[in-house]
């Protein structure tokens, strides 16, 4: 809808009603349509003039978890955070942050794709009851992924062949992890979760993992 007015130049004398209507009514009707790229000049909107949610909307979920306890530079036994444990298993599991809460965020979107980033600190929390004493046993690590509305996205995640411990002393395998991805979604309410699964391994043994400080960032790309 590019406007071209006046369509007919008026002579420099009195204007009749008919002339006025002929000049103005098409313009009025077009404005009553929809404005488009022809109606705005380049850089029509300076930074600061548009509403915040025009291009991007953001939601975050995070928690700071203190790992210390044995001294200023000494971490505690992972058994301290039993409420955070994900038990060993071959299925995707939610990550608890307490007895009733998980690393998950519900968002209401307008139809733009979601760009999701999860950053976390994992500790494979062996304790006296599930330590492996044999140095020949290699424990499987975890894959990490983002799950949206119950569907695990193909975001890769990362597995780690968690080191054995016992022969060379007490070890606490740890892993700082980032998983990230983009997913198109219909408008509406969506549940974004961070999930993990112990990777299949021939020498699979019982183990658990705990998530300490973490950040889940959900951005809807609008516009």
């Amino acid at each position: 809808m590019s406007h071209r007015h006046p369509r007919e130049r008026r002579r420099n004398d009195d204007v009749a009603a008919h002339d006025l209507l002929e000049a103005v009514v098409p313009f009025q009707e077009e404005v009553g349509g929809r404005l488009n790229e022809h109606n705005f000049k380049e850089d029509a909107f300076a930074a600061g003039e548009h509403n915040a949610g025009v291009g991007l909307a953001v939601a975050g979920l995070s928690e700071a978890v203190n790992p210390t306890g044995g001294g200023a530079d000494q971490w505690t036994d992972g058994g301290t955070f039993t409420a955070r444990r994900v038990d060993s298993g071959r299925d995707w599991s939610r990550i608890p942050t307490s007895a009733t809460t998980f690393v998950e965020k519900s968002v209401i979107t307008k139809g733009g794709p979601l760009w999701i980033t999860a950053s976390l600190q994992a500790v494979y929390a062996f304790d006296a009851s599930n330590q492996v004493s044999s140095s020949s046993v290699r424990k499987p690590g975890c894959q990490w992924a983002i799950r949206v509305d119950g569907v695990v996205l193909d975001l890769g995640g990362c597995g780690e062949d968690v080191p054995f411990h016992g022969t060379f002393g007490f070890r606490m395998p740890c892993q700082a992890m980032v998983v990230e991805g983009l997913v198109p979604l219909d408008p509406g309410t969506h549940l974004v979760e961070v999930v993990c699964m112990f990777t299949p391994d021939g020498s699979y043994v019982q183990e658990v993992v705990e998530v300490y400080s973490h950040d889940l960032i959900v951005r809807e790309l609008r516009g």
């Binding site: 909307a57 953001v58 036994d77």
Partner: protein
């Protein structure tokens, strides 16, 4: 959709100033009350609209694997805004800039139009527990502070760490691992402050009663960005 309510003069009626005034006023009203639907879907392009980025910053330093940085500072404790190792890596301090001018700027976290400051860090580690004493789990810890214009404020949730490797007990402690970190720093993390820069701290630590040991870092990459964004 814009609605221009035009009062039309009758045929044959002389046009009076009131008619013109009325027509223009109606047009003015229509243009000043545009709704979302008045603009055609997907009609506005990048050359019409400003960038949504309001601040950014990025630094990276690569020491190389043959001359890595030795991290010998002991972890200062949980939620400490000093006592980390900062010196020797320019990437440990990143100043925020205005993307339009490249001039230093700051991000007011209290603005409802900014949902926070995103920070990303990657630390490439060559070795943890440099002395090779690996009878216990040794750690290299990474943490972030933000600057509020007068003081550094630690972001406790930023703390991440890597561990010495299991085969260290057999004589080597080479780790070759990446410690990644992504944050959305908000007022809930650091209070109602305005951030002009941030820095990356490094420290050594240990699990349980073990003593911490030095580590080696090959490179540090750090970036930050703040966007004009609504709440999702």
């Amino acid at each position: 959709m814009a609605e221009w309510n035009l009062t039309r003069p009758s045929q044959g009626e002389h046009v009076k100033a009131a008619h013109v005034e009325s027509a223009l006023r109606a047009g003015e009203t229509a243009l000043n009350n545009l709704e979302d639907s008045a603009v055609e879907y997907r009609s506005l392009a990048s050359h019409h609209l400003p960038t949504i980025a309001v601040a950014y910053g990025q630094e990276a330093t690569n020491h190389g694997s043959s001359s890595p940085l030795t991290v010998s500072t002991a972890y200062p404790g949980w939620d400490q805004n000093s006592g980390w190792q900062y010196d020797g890596i320019t990437a440990t301090e990143v100043t925020l800039k205005d993307p339009a001018t490249d001039i230093a700027t700051s991000v007011n976290l209290t603005l409802s139009t900014i949902q926070g400051l995103e920070i990303g860090v990657n630390v490439n580690v060559k070795e943890i527990a440099l002395a090779g004493n690996n009878s216990h789990t040794r750690l290299l810890v990474v943490g972030v502070d933000v600057y509020d214009g007068s003081a550094w404020v630690h972001v406790p949730k930023s703390e991440r760490w890597g561990v010495s490797q299991p085969n260290a007990g057999s004589g080597t402690s080479v780790a070759w691992l990446d410690i990644p970190l992504r944050l959305l720093v908000t007022t809930a993390d650091v209070g109602n402050i305005t951030i002009s820069k941030f820095r990356v701290g490094l420290a050594k630590a240990a699990w349980d009663s073990a003593s911490a040991e030095d580590s080696e870092v090959v490179s540090v990459s750090a970036w930050a960005a703040a966007y004009k964004a609504g709440a999702l």
